[in-house]
Point group: C2
Chain length 180, copies 2
DNA sequence: GGATTCATGTAAGATGTTACATGATTGT
DNA sequence: ACAATCATGTAACATCTTACATGAATCC
């Protein structure tokens, strides 16, 4: 099974849900389009890793609520203890920063400023989620601990990137500069 | 053309080089295997975006030194000013942190500690590159400015992630905790 | 009236990885 | 002896994205 499969299991181990819901939950973990999710769910179900209950709805299309099976749970648990593969990071922004010297200061500045805006949006939406976490009942062994620390991680890193952006913008102001 | 193509142009706009060299330079910008790079170089050459000079070597295989053409330079320059696509981040580590509650504290701790080790290695290799930069002749319009700020960015973010890792490890120590 | 949400699927295409193919030189 | 570096390529496969397909309910 591929990593998307394990990401799906990770979500379903917390609560059963439909493929449609999965798509949005996976977004922060391992983004995938529904066209990739649905066929994989079928395959995993046929392998006995998942099972589903068909929910008939009126006014909306019917849906399948998937749950993880015992077999799936075993597979997930042993996967967690394996050391993770290298992360994949592909960011056009980096290429554009790298090639900044080929454009004018106005465009270079805009590139960085737009980055800040996008990061701020992400931070704001995470902030809401962080506030919703019931911190009074949160312990290191709790089901919600992993999600909570990941939300904090995202905001720490994005805030650090904003600092970096501002540092770069400051350098544009200073004719001669020095880095510590 | 795809983003890999622009990444290739970005490197070649600085100095001509072979496909083999490109593979290593691209690693921090837009990682790609040689099996993806070589066919794309051929295609770009046929489109008049690149050109190459065949260098005959003894003891080593012959090589093609690629350079960007005027046409390629124009294409690159206009691409830089377009707003970048969303970044792609896929990190198994995140899924494993998310699912930490399914394993024991020993494994959870190891997951985080191994992450720190990997980050430290990355930081150390970037540190060397940062030291090599001639900071006395570095200005915001310089060819080397983009690369320099990207190296700093990488280390800032990786150091911030290490801080986060240590914060998580601390939480394992504290029976009751609170996040600011 | 038009966009969004809910809901699941298939098909085609682009992108990325792993394996196959070759082979001399240099370092451990 | 064995691995790594240099150097380029193809083939097969896995993964991911975009487009096609359907359709009611709700919000602006």
């Amino acid at each position: 099974m591929n990593t998307l499969g394990y990401a799906i299991l990770s979500v379903l181990s917390r609560r059963p849900c439909s493929g449609y819901q999965l798509a949005s939950y996976l977004d922060v973990l391992w983004p995938a389009k529904h066209s990739q999710i649905y066929p994989l769910l079928n395959k995993m179900e046929q392998n006995g890793i998942l099972e589903f209950e068909l929910i008939k709805q009126t006014g909306k299309p019917d849906k399948k609520i998937y749950s993880i099976t015992d077999k799936g749970m075993q597979i997930l648990k042993s996967w967690i203890n394996e050391s993770p593969n290298e992360q994949i990071k592909r960011d056009e922004f980096l290429i554009k920063v790298y090639s900044m010297w080929l454009t004018d200061e106005e465009h270079a500045r805009k590139l960085i400023e737009d980055r800040i805006s996008k990061l701020e949006v992400k931070i704001a939406s995470r902030e809401i989620k962080i506030e919703e976490v019931d911190k009074d009942h949160l312990t290191t062994t709790s089901k919600h601990f992993g999600r909570y620390v990941l939300l904090c991680r995202g905001n720490l890193l994005d805030k650090e990137e904003i600092s970096w952006c501002n540092w770069v913008l400051d350098l544009f102001e200073t004719p001669s500069f020095r880095c510590e």
